[in-house]
Amino acid sequence: MKPILLKFCRICIALCFFIPFVLFFCDFAGILPKKIQLLMSVQLTPAILSGSLVTIALLLILTLLFGRIYCAVLCPLGVLQDIIARIRTIGNRKQVKKRRYRYSRPQNVLRYLLLGLCIVLLLFGILVPVLMLDPYSNFGRITTNLFRPVVIFGNNLLNELATKAGNYSFYHVTIYTVTAVSFLSALFVFLVVAIMALFRGRLFCNTICPAGSLLGLVSRYSLFRITVDHDRCNNCHLCERVCKSQCIDSKSGAVDGSRCVTCFNCLSRCSHRAIDYRFTPRLKPQPAPPSGTQNLSSDKAQSLQQGRRTFLLTGATIAMAIPAIPTTALTKSTIDDSKLKPITPPGSKSLLRFKEKCTGCHLCVTHCPQQILKPADFAFGFDYFLKPHLVYDHAYCNYECTVCSEVCPNGAIVPFTESDTKQTTQVGVAKFTAERCVVPNRSTDCGACSEHCPTQAVHMIPYRDGLRIPQVTPELCIGCGGCEYICPVRPLKAINVVANEVHQAAHLPTEEETEQPTEIEDFGF
């Protein structure tokens, strides 16, 4: 195959994944088919967390055969970095000819330390570091919190213009799901990734990303690999300059297979076909290019530079893992402070299970038609940071709706079945506080809570002076939050849903046999 074709194919396939990926995350109107979700399920971290051994095996075999194809075409964050790096060369052809990338030593200590840390903590059930570094869920959060609002803003502008002309084809969307914390943390990650990509290509993938490091361990031994033919090479260094992984040492002709993301840029640059992608099985990895750690003592200046670099990168990583953003509450809380457990989405089974499965990619957040799934801040602890929970401040969970379980890429939210239905899944129970209720306090009718209750778990019973007051039948309550959403009492609402740490089965409302006449003969007046 011609070298330029390889690169062309890589770009095409990458876009075939990347574009639907972005569109699916930005699709606020639910236009696109939910099956696009399958693209997300081939992502490495979701596959690991959901225990999809087949997907993991396929990805590892792919890497062992062809190198880090995953990083080149499947990983949306990788493609995003390529796009960002490409921006630098747009409209400046001379820049390409100038020295753009230089070979750099692998940050092996850092990358394998991070990978090891992630794996060890994962085995202990601590997901936070993985999820903060995972490329897929970071990309999801960036798209959800940064790109999607821009799309919605555009829609709202169009809607405003159309409405003025009397056209109601569009509709206004107010975003409720982007919180200050989720926005700032996504922005922070985006800036870190973007700056790294602009100046150092795929540095993120080769030092910080645990998926990249894991695949790098495999791609060292990959059967197809980039190799330099010393007889043909005229030492022009062009391949090194276009290598965004900075893994080609054109002086020695060594290519670091663990960092190569098979972008094939080098191939299309080389006019002598001295560098090629060919079947080169190797039991041992190529004699490693002088690693930063080995040469540290020999050159003091270099060691200083290396140390600083490692320090900076470690700093950036740590900062990314624990975004130090103040969790300032923007809106007044309408729920009781004693409610400290998050309400997890219906289908997530239990808080513990959800914590272990959810990658916090925010795909469910973007697809919830009611916008009640919101990313958490630190209120529920570090291990729930940025994971979605149900918030009933402006809407509630639709009785029939199961969208979140349909889009979840790794089974953190399990799709419902005929025997295990959404309508009988109790994610929490409504708790009524009579002292705060409108009916006794103002002696007026209200009943908004009962009105919105799909199961009549919240129903009205006689109170006094012809007034009626809510009462809760817990067995019927599914915790949808209809009552909490509509309760007019402030600052604290008179009815709140208290989370079930383990979801329970609710009774289906029974249908009563009717005694009243259901048909009539006369008007009655």
Binding site: N156, E160, T163, G166, Y168, Y171, H172, V173, T174, P369, Q370, A395, N398, Y399, E400, C401, V438, R442, T444, D445, C446, G447, A448, S450, E451, H452, C453, P454, T455, Q456, H459, M460, G466, R468, I486, C487, P488, V489, R490, P509, E511, E512, E513, T514, Q516, P517, T518, E519, I520, D522, F523, G524, F525
Partner: protein, 310 residues
């Protein structure tokens, strides 16, 4: 032009300007003969929704009495819930479709339908069957799910509710029809024509927090009154309203009550309802509040009512 002619013309113009044709028209329509011909209320029973609507409108002098050529019309059904038509949680779609066709036949420039739904608006519009029939019959069904669509209006006669944000489609309309479904209601006791007004406003929380029944009456004092209140009692929700739990909560009454008097419409509807489920008119507070605010009369025996059985 001679000076004399100029003065004459000026004088004639001045006289013409002082003539008030509105009053003349009002005098004509309140003419005793017209009152005798057209009843205050029409109640129809025993037909399909479209047939009953035709009968009622015919009795009231035809749709062209209410909708003039080139006017924009809003139809405000109850589409509050994500429920199929058989649950009677929303207005019957066939009734809405028939009304759209009538309006367009009368030469309406545009017919718009909306409701500020309780459940997700897109699901409500779809499940109720109203979105489909609106499109088929040539009306546009518009979103009402966001505060941007609402503009503030003042309600000088309101007791508790002094102003409210009302949907812009309704503010811009020349004429509108209030088309509720007859329902039992856990909070407001009954949901009929007056309660249906809650779907034209944005901030319903205020209603619940500040004497629901009074606020319902207050919002009905808004100076743009519906041309007609068309109460869909084809299938009514007998209990567990406003959502209902199953079809067994409904009764097939095959009736339609139409009147420009909103209080009388509600009272007549409650009397009809009482044949399948007991409900004291006195319990539905907004009706008495409405009468006090001069929105209509509770004493429907004094009205001329045309009863039609098909």
């Amino acid at each position: 032009m001679k000076r004399r002619d100029f003065f004459r013309l000026g004088a004639a113009a001045a006289v013409t300007a002082t003539l008030d044709f509105d009053q003349l028209q009002a005098a004509l329509t309140s003419n005793k003969m017209v009152v005798e011909a057209i009843p205050d209320m029409v109640a129809v029973m025993g037909g399909e929704p479209a047939v009953m609507l035709d009968e009622a409108l015919k009795t009231l002098g035809g749709i062209s009495k209410f909708v003039k050529k080139g006017q924009t019309v809003v139809i405000k059904p109850n589409i509050g819930w994500d429920k199929k038509p058989d649950f009677a949680a929303n207005t019957n779609p066939e009734l809405v479709g028939a009304l759209v066709k009538q309006c367009l036949a009368a030469g309406a420039k545009k017919v718009t339908i909306f409701d500020h739904t309780c459940d997700n608006w897109q699901k409500c519009y779809a499940s109720s069957g109203i979105e489909k029939i609106a499109k088929e019959s040539g009306a546009s069904i518009v979103p009402a799910n966001d505060e941007v669509y609402y503009k503030s209006v003042s309600l000088p006669q309101g007791v508790k509710l002094k102003s409210a944000k009302i949907h812009q489609a309704l503010l811009e309309a020349d004429v509108w029809f209030n088309v509720p479904v007859l329902k039992n209601h856990g909070g407001a006791k009954m949901s009929i024509a007056m309660k249906n007004y809650m779907g034209i406003v944005w901030d319903r929380g205020f209603f619940h927090d500040n004497d629901l029944q009074q606020c319902i009456a207050d919002i009905c004092t808004w100076n743009k009154k519906p041309a007609l209140n068309i109460v869909d009692a084809y299938r009514c929700m007998r209990k567990h309203g406003p959502q209902g739990r199953s079809i067994s909560d409904t009764s097939l009454l095959k009736s339609l009550i139409v009147s420009p008097d909103i209080v009388a419409s509600d009272v007549a509807s409650i009397k009809l309802f009482n044949q399948v489920e007991k409900m004291d008119v006195g319990e539905v507070g907004c009706v008495a509040h409405g009468e006090r605010l001069k929105l209509g009369t509770q004493d429907i025996d004094k009205l001329s009512i045309k009863r039609i059985k098909i």
